[in-house]
């Protein structure tokens, strides 16, 4: 009752709180200390080819990595690649922000740029299903992919999850009005999942409806990948903070900020931080003797979480506030290897699952 009255009178409800990192999400330094597999400022997405070789979207090209991490370009496009996936028939699907190209690089390629009469605006994730179809995340129909931060500050909820059949001729909307769709996955039990970054949840999508499968995440979820253990890996590109939650609640302040401040200095989550002294800070993020406390409120953070088939977190990998491997947007598991893309650092990290298990068990 009190909460309802408080909200009614715009007193901000009972409090301003964000979920904490505890239990399986207890912070560690596994991501921060992970070996760097490859480094390039333009890395955007990673995926495994049908032969199990790691590929990455890097600027407008797709590169293939040797076991030592040496990149070789295999395809290039006329715009920045915002997502990639390998179809069950071995074909390549790429997203170029406002369009999706299936069987890209071949004469058979097909382009999807409009679905249900709405143009694709911010395609940021693709996931190939076993039946040959392709799940497409159109993060927002209001703002382009590079403007994700503005979409958050405008409290966007126009994301869509789409499915293209194996021919690419038929595209259907599985869910709409998503709070920024930024990752899709068809898990081992046939459930279709979509990350909703601004709602801090992963939703299960069925019959054009979405319901929270993993709720109250402490960060902004991004792309997902299946785990051989039966669950899923979820990347979170930033952690929630009370300061950002506060700004999201204060509409006048937010609109003024959007209107007058350079986007890189907004009070908003970021993929990396600490490079510019003009960045906004919460009190606890003030550096002392040149060192940022690892438990300071994070503007950017590195976080990957493994969930089991019941969507219960099992373990997590962190790069803490003072670290560098922030802005995790993609993760891929291959045998004992786990590849993690830190967009904030422009690095692909390679971790050993057996070593992770040993570290977590200690």
């Amino acid at each position: 009752m009190f909460d309802a009255l408080a909200v009614l009178f715009r007193r901000g409800g009972s409090s301003l709180s964000v979920p904490i990192l505890d239990g399986a999400l207890k912070p560690n330094n596994l991501l921060e200390l992970a070996p760097v597999f490859a480094e390039h400022a333009d890395f955007e997405d990673i995926a495994l080819g049908s032969d199990g070789v790691l590929h990455a979207a890097c600027g407008s090209t797709i590169v293939r990595f040797s076991p030592a991490g040496e990149p070789t370009p295999v395809a290039s496009f006329d715009g920045a690649v915002t997502a990639l996936a390998f179809l069950s028939n071995g074909g390549l699907a790429v997203a170029l922000g406002t369009r999706v190209v299936i069987d890209a690089g071949t004469a058979m390629n097909r382009v999807i740029d409009t679905v249900d009469g709405k143009r694709l605006t911010a395609v940021n994730a693709l996931h190939a299903q076993a039946d040959g179809s392709l799940l497409i995340c159109d993060g927002s129909t209001m703002r382009g992919y590079p403007e994700w931060s503005r979409d958050l500050m405008e409290k966007g909820s126009s994301g869509r999850l789409l499915r293209a059949d194996r021919t690419g001729n038929m595209v259907t909307t599985l869910a709409s009005s998503l709070g920024y769709a930024f990752g899709a996955l068809s898990d081992g039990q046939g459930r279709i999942l979509a990350s909703e970054s601004w709602r801090h949840q992963v939703s299960a999508v069925k019959d054009r409806r979405s319901a929270p499968a993993i709720a109250a995440l402490p960060g902004y979820p991004a792309r997902m990948a299946s785990s051989a253990r039966g669950g899923l890996w979820l990347s979170l590109f930033a952690c929630r903070t009370q300061l950002v939650e506060f700004v999201l609640r204060e509409s006048d302040y937010r609109h003024e900020m959007l209107r007058t401040i350079d986007p890189k200095y907004w009070v908003a989550p970021a993929l990396s931080s600490g490079a510019d002294f003009l960045e906004p800070l919460q009190g606890g993020s003030v550096k002392q003797m040149g060192i940022l406390k690892p438990w300071a409120p994070p503007r950017s953070y590195g976080l990957v979480v493994l969930f089991n088939a019941d969507f219960i977190p099992v373990l997590s990998l962190h790069s803490r506030t003072g670290g560098r491997h922030h802005g995790i947007v993609a993760v891929v598991e291959r045998g004992d290897d786990l590849f993690v893309l830190s967009k904030g650092a422009g690095r692909i990290l390679r971790l050993s699952l057996s070593q992770i298990d040993a570290e977590v068990a200690q």
């Binding site: 009972s14 409090s15 709180s17 904490i20 239990g23 399986a24 109250a216 009370q242 219960i312 068990a361």
Partner: protein
């Protein structure tokens, strides 16, 4: 050393059952004598006879070589014997200063005068307690301090401490031990009853162990170790069962049952955040005043969080704000209190009635008249299940030993079939044998998939039970440990720094 107090063949019989039987006990001048035994072993009865609370059925008491037969506690007090009880005997509605001088007032009293005198006296003992505060506003530790101070003020030659450290923080305990050392140096004799064996081993000169109302052994402390004491107390070796060094297996976390986020309760809880998961025991360790109990009392609806910026509490993902505990009980939250005698049970009611009251608070049975048969059936099921040992069928809870009282309180909660069970100091004032049984109950609940919280000030207990260890300090959780890497030193460091 010479004997200041001697008990010869002392016996006390209650309703044809001997609580204490033919005990010979000698207290020497200036010694600290630890009296150990399971609950129901006869320790309290023995000391109550010394303090004049009850009269012995047979046998004699000699004080400084002369026969001594106190009829009332004031007789003992006049003779220089003071008793500090496990449950404080302070008057809650009076101030600390008034309590200190209660019974020793002058004809004319100035409030300011007794406040100053009390302040000076408390300071001489290095006790940081405001003499103008009402006792009801004090925490358990501070109440204990006032109780000890009162005994000191009466210049007693023999002081009997019944579980004096149960509610004290480790720092306060150290302080208390120093105080006992001071008493000893002044020639005061101390009888010290405790369930914390380490304390007995640390501060006593001699140890007497009682079992089933009989004296088992009296010996110098240097001749004892923990295993020998336990062996003497319970007649069987429980050391492995009780004090296994650390958990070999850790239960994996299930779904998140409880999420507390930025909780604030006055000055006691400050932006506290934590989660509790199903199928696990979450241990909460912290010193008195760290806000542990208050946090979980908010969850259970016993107290309310701050109205503005009081944080959020989510149970099974749903936000909650309980006004009364009954709402939390209906939602599957059980809170087993740290103060069972005040909040845990109805002392004049039978065990079965108490357990049935627990059930009634959860479900509406749809009828106004209840048959005794139904109440008996529920009560019997739970007394058997939790192995509550009683003398007879209709026995009242107050007549049980501490361990069995605690089991009855647990049964009263478990009958509600809760999903989240909060144990606040589950083995405080409980005998060693019952500790193991209560630990088994707690483990069983976690194995059944329930979310279990154990709040404890006793490090070995919290380390032994927990699958996750959270340390509270100054109103918030400051550190999380896995039982694998937790040590007593690490936990204590987190709790005090």
């Amino acid at each position: 050393m010479t004997a200041i107090l001697e008990l010869r063949q002392i016996t006390k019989i209650y309703a044809r059952a001997a609580a204490v039987e033919n005990i010979d006990f000698v207290l020497e001048r200036g010694e600290v004598h630890a009296l150990l035994g399971e609950n129901g072993a006869g320790k309290s009865t023995l000391t109550k006879m010394i303090a004049g609370v009850v009269a012995p059925t047979s046998g004699t008491i000699l004080l400084e070589g002369k026969e001594f037969a106190p009829r009332t506690p004031s007789d003992s007090l006049k003779a220089g014997i003071a008793m500090v009880f496990q449950e404080t005997s302070l008057v809650p509605s009076m101030t600390v200063a008034q309590n200190l001088f209660l019974g020793n007032e002058r004809f004319f009293n100035r409030v300011r005068g007794i406040n100053i005198a009390a302040q000076q006296f408390m300071q001489s003992l290095s006790f940081q307690v405001d003499p103008t505060l009402q006792v009801s506003a004090l925490g358990a530790a501070k109440k204990q301090m006032v109780e000890i101070a009162r005994a000191m003020l009466l210049k007693a030659q023999i002081i009997v401490f019944d579980e004096p450290t149960a509610t004290l923080t480790p720092e306060e305990k150290r302080h208390f031990f120093e105080l006992v050392g001071t008493l000893k140096a002044r020639g005061v004799s101390v009888i010290f009853i405790s369930h914390a064996l380490e304390e007995a081993l640390e501060i006593s000169d001699r140890i007497t162990v009682l079992r089933d109302g009989k004296l088992v052994v009296t010996d110098r402390t240097s001749n004892f170790d923990r295993a020998r004491i336990i062996q003497a107390m319970v007649g069987r070796s429980l050391s492995q069962e009780l004090y296994g060094t650390r958990k070999s297996t850790i239960r994996p976390a299930g779904r998140r049952v409880l999420r507390v986020s930025n909780l604030r309760v006055g000055n006691m809880v400050k932006n506290n955040s934590l989660s509790v998961f199903a199928g696990q025991i979450t241990g909460i360790f912290g010193l008195v005043g760290s806000g542990r109990t208050e946090t979980f009392k908010v969850v259970a609806g016993v107290i309310k969080r701050d109205y503005t910026n009081g944080g959020e509490v989510f149970l099974e993902g749903k936000p909650i704000r309980y006004r009364v505990p009954a709402q939390s009980v209906r939602d599957g939250v059980a809170y087993v209190t740290e103060d069972r005698k005040v909040e845990g049970f109805f002392e004049t009611m039978s065990i079965k009635s108490n357990i049935f009251v627990g059930l009634l608070s959860k479900v509406w049975l749809g009828k106004f008249w209840l048959k005794n048969r139904e109440i008996d059936a529920v009560g019997e099921h739970w007394t058997k299940s939790l192995q509550v040992r009683t003398v007879g069928k209709g026995v009242r809870v107050i007549e049980l030993s501490g361990g069995n009282q605690q089991k009855a309180v647990i049964a009263k909660s478990l009958v509600q079939n809760p999903e989240l069970i909060i144990f606040d100091e589950p083995t405080r004032g409980v005998d060693v044998g019952a500790i193991a049984e209560i630990h088994q109950i707690i483990n069983r609940l976690a194995d059944e998939g329930k979310a279990v919280v154990v709040i404890s000030s006793y490090l070995p207990e919290v380390m032994l039970l927990s699958d996750r260890l959270l340390v509270a300090r100054q109103g918030k959780i400051v550190e999380e440990f896995s039982p694998r890497d937790a040590t007593e030193e690490k936990l204590m460091y987190a709790a005090v720094h």
